[in-house]
């Protein structure tokens, strides 16, 4: 096999201009904005809010991990998964069972949850991602259905429909993370790590390859990109992140029950990706805000809740097909419009 050095370099004679395109600046901005965003969230448990408010913050961050990771898989890489809540649940039950049933140190639940979800994604992804088309959507749909049955039926492990009880809280020595305020910093840290990891990923060589695959797999392959390999990496990585979110969920609620991880939350997560903004980094934050906040705000409407939620979602996607993040973009464009 010929080495790349044998190849003709069409621009060998052209020197590197060394200038930066606008993209470089935008990327720097995204990183600082993300840092500010997380720093602003950190004091939530310190202001003497009640447990309910802090739990909203925890839920928001867990949902953020879920929606941001799904956005990278679906928005940036173009692979439709209808089983993200399944990986979330797998992580939750893996961590919960480790802690409640096996009696090992509950901290081990976090890496085990990531690992279990990642392994499941590997098993599904290897056959489903080899082909172009919607095989992954079908496979993940089936996977989630199977998991929903298992969570419900393996009563001796999962507690069945009554839910998994007896999950032991995480502890740092004698400091037990048993309240929402105490577990918040851990969830915050995990969410921040995930969000920075995803930002770094999408802005890299790997991220460009992923986005290329989403637009044209044929063109990506013609440039030497192994589409199968990258699709599998993204699928496994994002599944591990959903598993991590599950372990954080079970450790902050000390409970898990099957309905949180069924088909319906999987579909809602997909809807939140679209609502926030397909393949827009900030879209996941908006999606997570709505996913966390809307049920609370619409509580007074009781049965009409889902109806209002659904109508609102349709309205947004009708007027802003790019999602809520696109609304922000149009404001920026309006602000930066040429003025007389």
């Amino acid at each position: 096999m010929a080495k790349p050095s044998d190849a003709v370099d069409p621009i060998a004679a052209v020197t590197d201009t060394g200038t930066r395109d606008p993209g470089g600046r935008v990327f720097f901005g995204a990183r600082s904005a993300l840092l500010l965003f997380f720093l602003a969230l950190l004091p939530i448990p310190l202001f003497g809010f009640n447990d309910y408010i802090v739990s909203l913050g925890t839920n928001f961050l867990i949902n953020l991990i879920l929606i941001a990771s799904l956005n990278v898989l679906m928005g940036y890489c173009g692979q439709i998964s209808l089983g993200h809540a399944g990986f979330y649940g797998l992580g939750a039950y893996a961590a919960g069972i480790v802690s409640a049933r096996l009696g090992v140190n509950p901290w081990l639940g976090l890496p085990i949850a990531c690992l279990v979800s990642a392994l499941a994604a590997l098993v599904i992804g290897i056959p489903a991602l080899r082909l172009r088309g919607h095989y992954l959507a079908m496979a993940t749909l089936g996977f989630n259905a199977i998991l929903a049955v298992l969570f419900d039926q393996l009563v001796s492990w999962t507690g069945g429909p009554n839910g998994l009880l007896g999950v032991k809280p995480l502890a740092l020595g004698n400091f037990v993370l048993s309240s929402q305020a105490r577990i918040f910093p851990l969830v915050w840290l995990c969410a921040a790590l995930v969000m920075f990891a995803l930002l770094n990923l999408i802005q890299s060589r790997v991220g460009r390859a992923i986005r290329a695959i989403a637009t044209s797999e044929v063109a990506a392959q013609s440039l030497g990109i192994d589409a199968f390999r990258y699709k599998l990496i993204v699928f496994v990585l994002t599944a591990a992140m959903a598993g991590l979110a599950g372990s954080l969920y079970v450790e902050s609620n000390l409970y898990a029950s099957p309905e949180s991880f069924g088909f319906s939350p999987s579909i809602l997560l997909v809807a939140m990706v679209a609502l926030g903004g397909w393949a827009r980094y900030g879209g996941a934050i908006l999606g997570a805000l709505i996913y966390t906040g809307a049920p609370e705000l619409l509580r007074t409407f009781q049965d009409a809740q889902l109806l209002i939620f659904g109508a609102g979602m349709i309205a947004v996607l009708l007027f802003f097909p790019g999602g809520l993040a696109a609304v922000g973009d149009s404001f920026v464009r309006f602000w930066q419009r040429p003025r007389p």
């Binding site: 190849a7 370099d9 395109d21 060589r205 063109a219 990496i233």
Partner: protein
Amino acid sequence: MSETPPTLLDVRGLACRFGGLQAVADLDFAVRAGEIKAIIGPNGAGKTTLFNMISGVIAPSAGQILLSGEPIDRLPAFQRARRGLGRTFQNLQIFREMTVLENVMVGCHTRSHCGTAQAILRTSSARSEEHAIRGRSQALLARVGLSERAGEPAGSLSFGDSKLLEIARALAASPRLLLLDEPAAGTSHDAALRVGELIRELNRDGLTVLLVEHNMGLVMDVSHSILVLDHGRKIAEGRPAAVRDDPAVLAAYLGEDDDA
């Protein structure tokens, strides 16, 4: 060319059948290192099918494809690209959501090494490689004349500019053989002249080019040799002047059915 340069691409007995349609039949030809070879033929002659077989988009029903003497016909498309095969597409396949510059940066994929873990950790080697890729891509955009559009979404480019972007993107991988599928189709006369000039320049720098094109002016102008296909079969091959006067070629183009 006084002494014969080595064969870069060798196609032997290549055939492709779609159900009852024989798109390419028993085709033999070679591309010598350093030459510009054009493939012409009426619509449906099998030119794009041939490109798709060489680049690995579709599998041939029979035959062999050798790049520098190595068989590549069993390799997936991305492996062929890594062995030095670059291509553009007749129906544009640019990454519309990315910027013009990012499109070319994707083309640098095989020439860079940053893996997933390094990307996530944003290591210093990943960042310096990123800087190098960006500089290289800007230089390539300058070469095809798209520097001013670097930061714009690729979807906003005109058809002709998109064709140029595809060439820059393919060049980013430093191919040994570049397959150009109708680089001047649907572009203005001036743009076609620019494409011709670009092909000649790239060839002068040592790039071997296999070209499918309907613009006869461009083909006659740049090619060292021409292969004529009709109904998936080779009906003529040779220097431009010889091919132009070949009766079989005239018959194929003018639609005269020779009942021989």
